[in-house]
């Protein structure tokens, strides 16, 4: 006997094809039209947030922005499949998912604006800080879920990472801990084809990233990451399985990063324009719009409402980010530990003295608070 039941399907689950036509799947059902309409609205808003953030980078209001343009279906579905008590563990690329979960866009942008390392109330929205060191957050997600289980809480944790991150040791350890302890975590890999400049072929020789699930004894599945219906169905089932004691799953979404890694990146160095162009046809918004319009679920009125809702979000982002936050240098010392040590106190006093003197000098000589000496 071979454990063939362990193998992921050889193709990605798709419920709505690139032309917006429904695909009948033997296992997964198309989400209802209300859900799809909500998802479409999320896509519209997500796209607008990505575009607005890009513009704010160009205007120098954001230091950096890793865009999820093209990956909005994954972002929106990740937020939608979770219940209120569930938690999301996102990465730097998942700002749209973070916002879709309820975080104010301005708060989600604090890191990228450069004001602080994370800017939202993690507990209010049940969203962990966006992780930068790759794959490290997957272990946090596992431990977080273990703690919930320990206390008998009904919490499912959705942990996000990219294709590149699957090569890190922490990915392996997280998958393995989750499987051994049968923890209610869903690992959701957005395979967008690249880790900065490095293509998937340099990350793995396996038929798919979902195949990695086999080695941990957990279910793995591939899904068309630009088909929000499919992502909702597949992620939703995995979340349910986790909630019902069925343990962790690994879901790989096939998607594409339409823009450079961040604004600092130059993707013409490592991929052909043709390749990027080809993915426009698979855009997550387009196909869902076609589908919903054909199904009569989406009319011009709704389109209009969604667009203006998205525009409001963008306007709020502009307002928030065009304002310089009033930053307090003492914050550097405030949160390092729960109680500040005399050692840090002494250092803050040094800095405070400098700041006071620079203000005095300011007042006196009109120099800038920093840069000019004395």
């Amino acid at each position: 006997m071979l454990h063939t039941d362990m193998l992921p399907r050889d193709t990605a689950v798709q419920l709505i094809d690139e032309d917006g036509q429904p695909v009948v799947d033997e296992h997964y059902a198309l989400p209802d039209s209300e859900t799809l309409l909500a998802a479409y609205r999320g896509l519209v808003e997500g796209r607008r947030i990505n575009d607005q953030a890009g513009a704010l980078v160009r205007q120098g209001r954001l230091a950096v922005y890793p865009s999820s343009h093209g990956q909005e279906a994954c972002q929106v579905a990740a937020a939608m499949v979770l219940g209120d008590a569930d938690w999301l563990f996102p990465t730097y690329r998942d700002s749209v998912a973070v916002i879709a979960r309820g975080v104010e866009p301005a708060d989600a942008m604090v890191l990228l604006k450069g004001d602080w390392h994370s800017g939202y109330d993690v507990r209010a929205h049940r969203v962990a800080p966006q992780a930068t060191p790759l794959a490290t957050q997957l272990l946090h997600a596992v431990g977080f879920a273990q703690a919930a289980t320990h206390r008998g809480e009904d919490t499912v944790v959705l942990a996000l990472c990219g294709d590149g991150a699957t090569s890190e040791g922490d990915f392996h350890e997280a998958m393995n801990f989750a499987a051994v302890f049968q923890v209610p975590v869903v690992f959701f890999v957005q395979n967008n084809g690249f880790a900065i400049s490095v293509p998937l072929s340099r990350q793995t020789a396996a038929p798919s990233l979902a195949h990695k699930a086999v080695g941990y004894g957990m279910p793995g599945e591939r899904v068309d990451g630009n088909d929000v219906a499919a992502v909702l169905a597949v992620l939703g089932e995995a979340v349910n399985r986790a909630r019902n004691g069925g343990g962790p799953s690994l879901i790989e979404a096939h998607t594409y990063r339409m823009q450079a890694h961040t604004n600092a990146d130059d993707d013409t160095r490592y991929r052909e324009r043709d390749e990027v162009q080809a993915w426009i046809a698979r855009d997550p918004l387009l196909r869902l719009r076609t589908h919903l319009t054909q199904a009569g679920t989406l009319d011009a009125d709704a389109e209009e409402r969604f667009a203006s809702g998205a525009e409001e979000i963008a306007a709020a982002m502009r307002t928030a980010l065009n304002t310089d936050a009033d930053l307090d240098p003492e914050d550097l010392f405030r949160f390092v530990t729960a109680t500040r040590s005399p050692q840090l106190d002494e250092q803050w006093h040094l800095l405070r003295g400098e700041i006071e003197r620079s203000h005095l000098a300011d007042a006196g000589a009109g120099t800038t608070p920093n840069g000019d000496h004395r």
Binding site: V142, G143, F144, A148, D170, F335, V336, T337
Partner: protein, 342 residues
């Protein structure tokens, strides 16, 4: 009434002073912490049925069940990374890493998250976790089993780093570490695991404080972990030679108790720092630099340090040449510009 009952128990315990090994004191601290706080969990490699390779977790799983003390897959980053997640979710994980070289796979998790998550979230999430690491040499262990890696942790902002040198401190500091809202690297000097002393479980220790281990007027020895008994031995020998040696157990490697240490060194005007780790860019060099800078006007002589060499740790048969010993410390003391020097 539950509360009254607990109070009584605490009273009874307050009177309890027992002689035990440092290993037993640590075990007792873990058991008491598990018992008194439902959020405390202990895990790591071989901490369950085996009770840890040094038996520090002996009997915990049997007594408190798998939910409170359990073995994990063999992966240190996994151990620390999941502990971070648990701490994010309100628990107080106490993890054991088997030997300090085997803590290294967890280094990214420790530096990038354990140390920084509280700061990152502006205190929105704290990291009340304890990472226990048996450290140091003197037990004839083969390569990777005798390292002293405290410099890596002490240099990292956000980590509290402590090391006990007596069973009492082992108990009290571990309880304090587990109770702390901040992450603590708890370094257990392997060589002292079987050393005995009195333990009063009602004594509380404060993280961040040094301890005067012996009074003296001529010179101050600053030490921690297994170097404290060495310093005390030196003080005995020196006393016989007519020199009065003060010994400070630094105890808290980060943050540093400048007040106690500076006062001590100013009172004698001479100081030697002792530590097993390679001296270069070490906790010992930090202490030396601080004391130098803060006590400059009071010093009769340069502050010295006696440390391990800047080489990989010695194999068992050569470790007696590697480790600081009584002679080496006495030699250092001899260089401190004594009035009777020629």
């Amino acid at each position: 009434m539950t509360i009254a009952h607990d109070d009584t128990r605490a009273e009874v315990e307050a009177g309890t002073v027992t002689t035990m090994t440092m290993a037993a004191a640590l075990n007792r601290a873990l058991a008491d912490a598990i018992e008194s706080d439902p959020d405390v969990v202990v895990f790591g490699e071989d901490v369950g049925a085996l009770g840890g390779v040094f038996r520090i977790t002996d009997g915990l799983t049997a007594r408190f069940g798998e939910e409170r003390c359990f073995d994990t897959p063999l992966a240190e980053s996994g151990i620390v990374g999941t502990a971070v997640g648990m701490a994010m979710n309100g628990m107080r994980p106490v993890v054991e890493l088997q030997f300090d070289a085997f803590a290294l796979p967890a280094f990214e998790q420790i530096v990038s998250h354990v140390a920084k998550l509280g700061n990152r979230t502006r205190g929105g999430m704290r990291m009340p976790l304890v990472i226990r690491i048996p450290f140091g040499g003197g037990i004839g262990g083969v390569e990777h089993h005798c390292d002293s890696s405290e410099a890596y942790y002490a240099h990292t902002p956000g980590l509290t780093v402590v090391s006990p040198s007596t069973p009492q401190d082992a108990y009290s500091l571990l309880r304090a570490a587990i109770a702390s809202p901040d992450p603590v690297i708890f370094l257990e000097p392997k060589k002292l695991y079987w050393s005995k002393g009195e333990v009063d479980t009602s004594i509380a220790a404060e993280l961040g404080t040094a301890r005067i281990a012996r009074d003296g007027t001529d010179v101050t020895l600053l030490a921690y972990g297994a170097s404290v008994p060495l310093a005390l031995e030196v003080a005995e020998v020196a006393a016989a030679e007519g020199r009065s040696v003060q010994v400070v157990d630094v105890r808290s490697l980060s943050p540093f108790d400048d007040a106690t240490v500076t006062t001590a060194v100013k009172s004698t005007g001479r100081a030697v720092v002792i530590a097993e780790a390679p001296g270069y860019v070490s906790v010992a060099s930090e202490i030396q630099a601080r004391v130098f800078e803060r006590c400059f006007e009071y010093l009769a002589a340069p502050v010295r340090r006696v440390t391990g060499f800047d080489t990989p740790y010695a194999p068992p048969k050569l470790e007696h040449w590697y480790l600081p010993d009584v002679d080496r410390v006495l030699d250092a003391i001899d260089t401190l510009h004594w009035e009777d020097d020629v």
